[in-house]
Amino acid sequence: MEGSENQKHFFDLKIPLGCLLGFYGILLVAYGLLGPSDIYERSLSLNVNLDWGILMIVISGAFLIFAYRRKKA
């Protein structure tokens, strides 16, 4: 059983991860703004979709910026 060449040969995980979280963020923000508002009775009238969506867009942006800077370096 021979060993591997031990090179850094996998792709950068930050890209798919950033894309997935970004997609979730946009989806939640859009749903928070345009979707029904009676569903927030459960969450004590906090529009958590909007808040959480914005947070996820920020996290996703951080991942993508780091991935981009690493690629350039």
Binding site: H9, S43, L44, V48, W52
Partner: protein, 537 residues
């Protein structure tokens, strides 16, 4: 609980990304080491998060929320005493021998340090246990979806098994690790909203404190005797059984977690893997203990009524979701749980296929074949492992308390194992047969103790106390038997033990800045752990 199109869109996007990630890794899988050990090429931030997530599976999340609703903050013992010291010990003291000796699995270390019989015993018991665990995870997931979404047990078992099969088949350990990292973020982002809304509902942390009994917030104050706390365990049982034996046995010898560190790019990264992982590990109680406490404070069915009926604690988390999460965020929370279920299962399957291929098939069935043969066998083992897990999922339906069942298996197999490793790595006079008999009789001691407990010969205040002490006695048996048998059996030649035993291995000085040194992070982690224990004393 009604999921709508937006929830399903979130769930679907996750499944799609995991499959794409797994499938696009297929072109990198050229050798068996690429498939089983990610070509030893991953940076430590990835392996650390995977190290943590591999353990943060289905049972962990649901079971720990259940424990918190039942026992309150005592559940933090599973984190702040029951995991952190072992993770630091693994990184600082054991990783040099695991990674440094270039073994590909935990059983392989046992073969080099002791003998073929010891490896065989460990490899076979580990492979079996791993598939059982995988089946348990799958069953837990299916049950969750049956309860919450009304999906049939069979369709969710088959669907999740298929997704895991696809991504592990193509991408091996790398796929599994990448998905564990994705899961790490999803479980946090998925569970924090319920903490946020729940705390809002009780009026912040102070409100929560007021609404539930004070003993639910004191981690050590009531541990003086087993009768005074809801867990029915005294501090000695927690420290020796859980903190020392069970947690060291799991975190330092279970190949499922150790494999993540072996995938690191170099020794320093391998050492940092469990140590860096210990920091987020200390924070996990935020997403498991707080939801459990919130369930007690907010949901009428978990209100503490002396002499009342026992609530179904395992449903605490899901009921919190159903009660407080609107569509959208609900889909995210369900996806976080699904991700932890699937990556827990994938972790088991990858650990199984490695041990099966290297330590069972490649050692006893077909030795010395070309590397491509073993690569192919790893893929077949993946298919077999998934099929066997499906079978197990249906068998474990009859076991009601999954968490206890898991601990039972751990204490039979893992508890004595840590004694074998401790003596193997730090006492050069341990002999091959000393290791074998110590391990075998340690497992036997655990089984005997369990039998005596079940028959009512020995008594404990609770089942959990019985588990903790059982682990302790199994460990002691292994420790003593290994030393006794070693005193009259043939020792290994010292030259064959270089790199495997502490006193015979030249010390390596770690280079670079303070922030790259494993020791720095290890000490820092220990200090934070002690502070947390003091704050919640």
């Amino acid at each position: 609980m009604n999921m709508n199109f937006i929830d399903y869109l979130i769930l679907g996007a996750y499944v799609l990304v995991t499959i794409i990630v797994g499938y696009s890794l297929r072109k990198y899988m050229k050798t068996s080491e690429d498939f089983f050990l990610s070509g030893r090429s991953l940076p430590s931030w990835i392996t650390s998060l995977a190290f943590l997530s591999a353990n943060l599976g289905a049972l962990e999340v649901i079971g720990m929320v259940a424990n918190s609703a039942k026992y309150g903050i005592l559940t933090v013992h599973f984190y702040w005493i029951g995991a952190i010291p072992a993770m630091i010990f693994l990184g600082l003291f054991m990783m040099p021998f695991y990674y440094g000796s270039k073994v590909r699995s935990v059983p392989e270390y046992l073969k080099l340090r002791y003998n073929e019989a010891t490896r065989g015993l460990n490899a076979i018991s580990f492979a079996t246990m791993t598939l059982l665990m995988s089946g348990i995870s799958m069953y837990a997931m299916a049950l969750l979806f049956e309860l919450t979404l009304g999906w049939s047990l069979t369709s969710s078992i088959l669907l999740s098994a298929l997704v895991v099969l696809i991504y592990v088949f193509f991408g091996g350990l790398s796929s599994s690790i990448y998905n564990e990292v994705i899961q790490f973020f999803l479980i946090w982002l998925g569970l924090l909203p319920v903490v946020y809304i729940g705390l809002h509902a009780v009026g912040g942390f102070e409100g929560l404190v007021q609404r539930i009994p004070a003993s639910f917030f004191q981690a050590w104050r009531h541990m003086g005797s087993a009768a005074n706390n809801p867990m029915g365990v005294d501090w000695l049982g927690v420290v020796l059984g859980l903190g020392f034996v069970l947690s060291f046995g799991y975190w330092t010898t279970d190949f499922l977690v150790v494999q993540r560190a072996l995938a690191s790019e170099d020794l320093a990264a391998a050492q940092r893997t469990p140590i860096v992982a210990s920091f987020p590990k200390m924070l996990v109680p935020i997403i498991v203990v707080i939801p459990g406490l919130l369930a007690v404070a907010l949901l009428p069915q978990f209100k503490i009524v002396p002499g009342g009926p026992t609530p179904d604690y395992n449903s605490a988390l899901i009921l919190m979701f159903a009660h407080y999460l609107p569509n959208g965020i609900l889909g995210l929370a369900i996806t976080g749980l699904l991700a932890s279920f699937m990556s827990g299962m994938a972790g088991n399957v990858t650990a199984f296929n490695t041990v099966w291929t290297y330590d069972i098939y490649g050692s006893y069935i077909k030795k010395g074949m070309p590397d491509q043969h073993y690569l192919k066998m790893g893929k077949y083992a993946t298919v077999f492992g998934v099929l066997f897990s499906i079978g197990t999922a249906y068998i474990v339906r009859s076991f009601p308390n999954l968490m206890d069942y898991m601990q039972l298996l751990f204490s039979f197999l893992n508890a004595p194992l840590f004694a074998t490793f401790l003596l193997g790595m730090f006492w050069k006079k341990a002999t091959p047969w000393g290791g074998f008999w110590g391990l075998l009789l340690g497992i036997f001691a655990a089984a005997t103790h369990y039998l005596l407990y079940r028959l009512g010969v020995v008594h404990y205040a609770s089942e959990m106390a019985a588990n903790f002490y059982q682990a302790w006695w199994a460990w002691c048996t292994d420790f003593v038997i290994t030393i006794v048998v070693s005193s009259f059996t043939v020792k290994k030649d010292e030259s064959t033990l270089v790199g495997l035993v502490y006193s015979l291995t030249p010390r390596m000085r770690s280079e670079g800045s303070l922030f790259r040194k494993p020791m720095f992070w290890g000490v820092l982690s220990l200090v934070v752990m002690i502070l947390l224990n003091v704050i919640f004393w």
